[in-house]
């Protein structure tokens, strides 16, 4: 059994089901993200692990111990809240010391551990400040220090970076990962930001409407999304709706009167599907030399790459080409689009069944 185990965990708020039969095992030392749009149940799931929300059904166990209905103060988990939830009437050091005080750690050891925790988050010189005298990023790090100082078996992070500006968020992503690696604490982070989830997690759990829809390593999630929602929510993708056709050992997809070669899938003939291909997996060729012809309607220069909008018979496609220093096709010019067949994903189109 995994270190932290969720079995068929559900939560209903009156007639609304916020979380439905979530089962998940998390190993010791793992960094797992719960990713999904707002209202998908990811925060409720985290709060059930923390003990702040009581599950309507299912079982949660930690290191073999059933904690489903245990009070939050008996669980000993570290929680970092979205609003940081620092105690405004206490100094930074008092905030961090609070958990140790509750554990009746002697004063001298307490001071030592507070100092260690604050230097871990690089705030050693801010011990005597009050939260209101700190910037957003500093408050965030105090919240992390306060959660980590009690040496929790599991660290829970609720949208920890969403209140920070873009540049600081990027810095804190690496900072979070550095701290987590150094301390080795099992960590669960809730986020709606796919880039954040992909960049720092060992595994990502995608949640939609209260259910887990895919659990995978970030790169596999990106390359092999299990449904159309995930393929467009995690990274950018081109989605083309069509009909899947088996043709002996090969297959093709009919889209608006044309046929595109498609990978073999376990589907019945004429099943409605979505073809998904990432913008950076498409190559530009001479017209007629690729799998699909089109015309450039827009091109955007993004520094490290060019982004093209290309009108094709099958629909509008976005194509990203790395900037190699050359002059790419102009707006209005005809181009051919090509790709490796394995980069094309066939996703059953459940919405049009």
């Amino acid at each position: 059994m995994a270190f932290l185990n969720l079995e068929q965990v559900s939560k209903d708020f009156g007639p609304v089901t916020a979380v439905c039969n979530v089962s998940l095992g998390i190993e010791k030392g793992e960094f797992v993200s719960l990713l999904g749009p707002s209202g998908c149940g990811k925060t409720t799931t985290l709060q059930m692990i923390a003990g702040l929300v009581e599950p309507s059904g299912g079982r949660i166990s930690l290191d073999g111990r059933d904690i489903t209905y245990e009070k939050p103060n008996r669980r000993g988990l570290g929680v970092v809240f979205q609003s940081y939830a620092l105690f405004p009437h206490m100094t930074v050091a008092e905030n961090v010391a609070f958990g140790l005080e509750m554990r009746r750690v002697p004063r001298s050891e307490r001071n030592e551990r507070v100092r260690e925790a604050l230097s871990l988050v690089q705030l050693a010189s801010f011990a005597d400040r009050y939260p209101r005298q700190l910037s957003g990023g500093q408050r965030q790090r105090v919240a992390i220090a306060r959660a980590l100082v009690i040496s929790p078996p599991v660290l829970l992070l609720d949208e920890p970076l969403s209140n920070l500006d873009a540049k600081l968020r990027e810095e804190m992503q690496f900072e979070l990962r550095r701290i987590q690696r150094k301390v080795g604490t099992t960590t669960i982070m809730v986020t709606h930001d796919q880039a954040e989830a992909l960049s720092i997690s060992d595994r990502v759990v995608v949640m939609e409407a209260g259910r887990m829809t895919q659990v995978d390593a970030p790169y596999r999630l990106y390359e092999q999304p299990s449904n159309a929602f995930i393929s467009s929510f995690v990274g950018k993708t081109n989605l083309l709706a069509g009909k899947w056709r088996r043709n002996g050992a090969s297959a093709y997809v009919e889209i608006k009167g044309i046929s595109l070669e498609a990978p073999i899938a376990d589907l019945s003939d004429a099943a409605p599907v979505m073809l998904s291909i990432r913008p950076e997996k498409i190559l530009l060729r001479e017209p007629g030399a690729g799998r699909l012809d089109g015309r450039v309607t827009n091109r955007f220069f993004l520094g490290s790459q060019w982004l093209f909008t290309i009108e094709t018979v099958a629909g509008t496609m976005t194509v990203a080409i790395p900037n190699q220093g050359g002059d790419p096709p102009l707006e209005g010019s005809a181009v051919g689009l090509d790709w490796t067949l394995t980069n094309l994903r066939v996703i059953p189109d459940t919405a049009n069944l």
């Binding site: 003990g51 103060n73 570290g78 105690f87 609070f98 958990g99 554990r103």
Partner: protein, 264 residues
């Protein structure tokens, strides 16, 4: 910083003048050496202040009022804080009724309350006791405390309490170490309003005080019905001075904006 136009400025001056002018005049009249309330006066004298302290009735009543207001305000805080917590955090049958019940003394005229209590106390035979006087004052001042504590609770970030829970604090420790300090401005402001309202209460107290428990406002009222002389002005001036000092001390220790507006 918002700038006021000339009309708004004139309006502010008028309001401040109308509020302050009677107080200023009372304070000036208190220093008259003459036998009647006159202004301008012929000189400055402490004659009427001395007269106040020569009346042991007034001194006793003053202490009655101080004790009454202190005890009522404190007990009403002890009553209103748990009530506010229950009303703002839990939904239970009768929650709205409880809220309305606690606020109802605000809309019942004190005159009616006074007559009702007089009748009730006569019926159960406790007329004139200080404890029952305190009870009536608690009923009258609790709505103020409840309102302020409810306001403080509604502006409170619950996640700080949740954080304390996850860090190992039980419910009582969380209240004592986190919730109470965070709503302290509301509690202090409520206590202060309760104290002032109790200290100032006349209409109801006339009915429920006995010769042994006469409060200062009742004493002043009784005195003024018999004779109008500058001693009333001197008592008023002393009360104004006392309030001003109390406010000053509170402002220095907590900050009045924080207490009454609830913001830092």
């Amino acid at each position: 910083m918002q700038r006021n136009g000339p009309i708004a400025l004139a309006f502010h001056i008028l309001v401040v003048t109308f509020v302050l002018a009677p107080l200023v005049i009372i304070c000036l009249v208190a220093f008259t050496p003459e036998n009647t309330l006159t202004l301008p006066t012929t000189g400055i004298s402490l004659r009427w202040f001395k007269a106040v302290f020569a009346h042991p009735d007034f001194v006793t009543s003053f202490w009655n009022s101080i004790w009454l207001a202190t005890i009522s305000a404190t007990l009403s805080v002890a009553l209103a804080v748990p009530a506010a917590l229950a009303i703002s955090r839990y939904s239970f049958p009768g929650r709205d009724f409880l809220n309305a019940l606690f606020l109802s003394p605000l809309i019942i005229p004190h005159l009616v309350l006074g007559v009702a209590f007089l009748r009730l106390f006569a019926l159960i035979g406790v007329g004139g006791s200080f404890a029952w006087l305190v009870a009536t004052h608690i009923i009258v001042v609790t709505p103020y405390v409840l309102r302020l504590v409810l306001a403080a609770l509604s502006g409170l970030d619950r996640s700080a309490e949740q954080a304390a829970r996850t860090l190992g604090a039980g419910e009582w420790t969380t209240f004592r170490r986190i919730t109470a300090p965070m709503i302290l401005p509301g509690i202090t402001g409520g206590w202060l309003l309760a104290f002032i309202n109790s200290f100032d209460e006349l209409t109801m107290s006339i009915f429920v005080t006995s010769p042994a428990t006469v409060t200062l406002p009742v004493r002043m009222y009784m005195y003024a019905t018999e004779s109008i002389d500058p001693m009333m002005a001197a008592v008023s001036a002393l009360m104004i001075a006392l309030t001003a000092v109390a406010m000053l001390v509170l402002d220095r220790t907590f900050g009045l904006d924080r207490i009454l507006v609830g913001q830092r």
